[in-house]
Amino acid sequence: MVFPAKKVLRYIFALFFIVSLNFFLPRAMPGDPVINLLGEDFIAGKEAVEKIREELGLNRPILVQYASYWKNLLRFDFGYSYHFRARVSSLIISRLKWTFILVAPSLILGTIIGALAGSLAGWKRKSKGNTFSFLFFLFIYCSPPFFISLLLLYFFGFRLGLFPLKGFYTTGNWIDILKHLFLPVLIMTLFSASRNYMVMRGSVLQEKEKLYVWYARAKGHLEDSILFQHVFKNASLPVITLFALDFGFLFSGALFIEIVFSLNGMGTLIYQSILSRDYPVLQGTFLTISFMVIIANYLTDWIYNWIDPRVRANR
């Protein structure tokens, strides 16, 4: 699959910008860059600090530092966390896996459920079921994620005792993992679905007045088959765009859910590094998420290309 050079260039530029931001931010912030780079949790004697300053090359000209920063990044070296006593890259990889297990099903389920329910709601606005689903998703859409998480945890986890309150697993077999993941994935799915629902509903509302819909009707299609054979594909284009954005959103949303459910994923990693002001980890996670979003954008373009012939031809 070849892409227009312009798009690729944009992604490269975006990556370049984010990496640069990540490089200059700690150096531009008030305070000692050593502390800004190592985290405030890091306590060491003066000698040690000087030694590390030397190691990090903070005495060298900023452009030289910048170049070596890039070199490190290309080797997937995000630095070292004194708080976690580990390389940031290995830390992120071990956490990313779990967050992915959380995010991927939510994203897929959320997109499917949201798109289906949303298209139905846009198509037949008057039915009672759609009014209900509209109000339901609107409520989810308008609520802070941590709020919903705690409420669901309280009712399903505590009151009804159906699900465990923390962790990815206890024993580690797949049923156990599913049981632990059910509530977090449910909540993330709801959020993802609510966003997709709103977009899909609006999109179908716009599409349904278009001439090709009337024409499909004139050909003898029944209402439901117009929706699924004609409108759905057109109306889902904005949802696909959202897919990439959703990715970043779910990673941030996962933050709150991971905290509430004590899940040892990227969100908790971010949270722990906030608490200990572990800047290398914060920056590493930030970079990773940005990178994931760029990849998701790339993927989105790909899907978009595949669905919309107009885009394909405009290359």
Partner: protein, 527 residues
């Protein structure tokens, strides 16, 4: 579409009921003590993690410990000797200690541990600088020789876990050594697994443990990011007790737990406390009369009730709580608005322009900058209200922990609310001197007193190991606090630990609470 909806509903129902059924999976027979803790372990490192070293105190017991009476006694070391000039300390090891792989604990292990700490742990810099020589004496004794007299080394070593030399010397970079699997230990339990994805640290019985045999078979430490969720887990029965280093179970949640009828509570007066600190390098805080007046402006009963839910005692002018060794009774702090106003007036702080705010001696409105850390917002808010009651304006400055440290080190504040930990109360000269001695630095250290009298008392404490002399000096320090009020204790609180009634025999110590070996070997499951 209706059919579709039905299908979806059926699938959802099936999945749901499947999960419902799975909740009835039963557990094994072995007696397991499950401890819930919000102290999130972030890496399986026995030395550098924030909290794993605390949890490892029962698997890799330090040389010394604090007993339930608050005295430092030997743990892995059965006998501790100190030379008369306080420079040479000899630790005779308990000879019945074995690592969980069957090897005997040797003085080499201790030597390795202390050298490792001195070399790698930044906050143990004093050890690196002060240590002259470590040698092994006989089959089971280690001798530490210091460059200058060190009187409290037994206490300072009570927090460093013993490391097995035969494992750690093979590790390539021990600074980064984190091991989520089995960690060899020499306590009654050893760490079997640190599974952060499950949020569980599993500890199993050390088969070679020669001391009192524990009644429980296994300890699981369950980690919760969120305290409320942890409280729910307690209530639900997911965990049996609660442990948070140097902190109590949230007071607000106690009543609720009591109602379940399944829990009892260990109540222990905390050695640490919350206090209001003055920046003595600035006016008007440097004026004793001002501080004295303020000490009457604070509504102690109310702050105890609101902030501590009455789980604690009213404080005395002597600062140090009565749970501490060598407590010396001083006059209780009292709330007397009239007196506070009168004293302020007498000291010359009068509101002459009638704008509701008193002026300082130079004639300017008093506007105190109060540093507020996120965790101390409520207490700080109350202090602000109290001071405004007597005509002193307070501006709250929101800072995070690191900024707080930076600003207090630069004396860029007027007042602040902070706390002491039990450990902090005991280090340095003890009795809180660590926080005030102007010659010290450190995270929570305020270093605001440079009065030679006070420094003399501290030096006295630092140069003796004689119990009688220590007691005398401890009393003097408390009198000094009472007479000079460099800081005001807000209240003395309790550390409350809920536990499942099925377990009995709890023996908390003042330093690490329930988390000590004596406690765990004595615990019994009743039902």
């Amino acid at each position: 579409m209706i059919q579709h909806k039905k299908k979806i509903a059926i699938v959802l129902l099936t999945v749901f009921s499947l999960f419902f059924l799975m909740t009835f999976v039963s557990h094994g027979e072995e007696v397991v003590l499950r401890i819930g803790s919000p102290n999130m372990v972030s890496t399986a490192n026995l030395v550098f993690d924030d909290y794993l070293p605390v949890f490892a105190h029962i698997s890799n017991p330090p040389l010394t410990k604090m007993n339930t009476e608050g005295q430092i006694v030997g743990q892995s070391a059965k006998l501790i000797e100190v030379s008369s000039d306080n420079t040479t300390w000899t630790f005779h090891l308990n000879d019945s200690l074995y690592w969980s792989d069957g090897q005997k604990v040797t003085p080499q292990d201790v030597k390795f541990t202390i050298e490792f700490i001195a070399q790698n742990v930044p906050w143990a810099g004093w050890l690196k600088e002060g240590l002259q020589d470590i040698s092994i004496q006989g089959p089971n004794a280690v001798v530490l020789k210091f460059k200058k007299p060190h009187t409290q080394i037994n206490r300072d070593l009570s927090s460093y876990n013993l490391l097995p030399k035969h494992i750690w010397e093979k590790v390539e970079s021990p600074q980064d050594y984190s091991n989520p699997g089995e960690n060899i230990g020499c306590g009654p339990f050893y760490i079997k697994k640190v599974d952060l994805n499950a949020g569980i640290i599993t500890m199993e019985k050390n088969p070679y443990w020669k001391g009192q045999t524990p009644q429980i078979g296994k300890i699981e430490i369950h980690l919760y990011n969120n305290v409320d969720v942890l409280s729910l887990a307690l209530e639900k029965g997911d965990v049996d007790t609660y442990y948070r280093y140097a902190s109590s179970y949230p007071y607000q949640n106690i009543e609720r737990l009591k109602k379940t009828g399944r829990f009892d509570f260990v109540e222990k007066l905390n050695i640490g406390l919350y206090f209001l600190a003055f920046n003595l390098k600035r006016t008007p805080m440097s004026d004793f009369k001002f501080r004295e007046a303020i000490s009457y402006a604070i509504n102690y009963p109310e702050i105890l009730k609101l902030d501590g839910l009455d789980y604690g005692n009213l404080p005395a002018r002597g600062f140090v709580p009565n749970s501490m060794d060598h407590f010396f009774e001083t006059e209780l702090l009292t709330y007397d608005l009239e007196k506070a106003n009168r004293l302020l007036g007498e000291a010359g702080y009068i509101d002459s322009d009638k704008n509701g705010i008193r002026e300082d001696l130079a004639g300017k409105d008093i506007n105190l900058t109060m540093l507020v850390e996120p965790d101390y917002v409520r207490r700080s808010e109350l202090i602000k209200y109290y001071l405004e009651e007597v005509g002193i304006k307070v501006t709250m400055k929101n800072v995070d922990e690191s900024t707080w440290i930076a600003l207090k080190d630069q004396y860029e504040y007027d007042i602040t609310v902070t706390r002491t930990t039990p450990w902090g109360m005991m280090v340095h000269g003890g009795w809180g001197t660590a926080y005030f001695d102007s010659r010290r630095t450190g995270e929570g250290v305020l270093h605001i007193i440079d009065d030679p009298i006070f420094l003399g008392l501290v030096d006295g404490l630092l140069s003796t190991t004689d119990p009688g002399k220590i007691k005398e000096l401890a009393h003097s320090v408390q009198s000094y606090y009472a007479e000079n009020i460099p800081a005001i204790a807000l209240y003395w609180n309790m550390i409350i630990t809920p536990f499942n009634r099925e377990f009995t025999g709890w023996q908390p110590d003042p330093l690490f609470g329930i988390y000590n070996i004596d406690n765990f070997v004595n615990l019994k499951k009743v039902f």
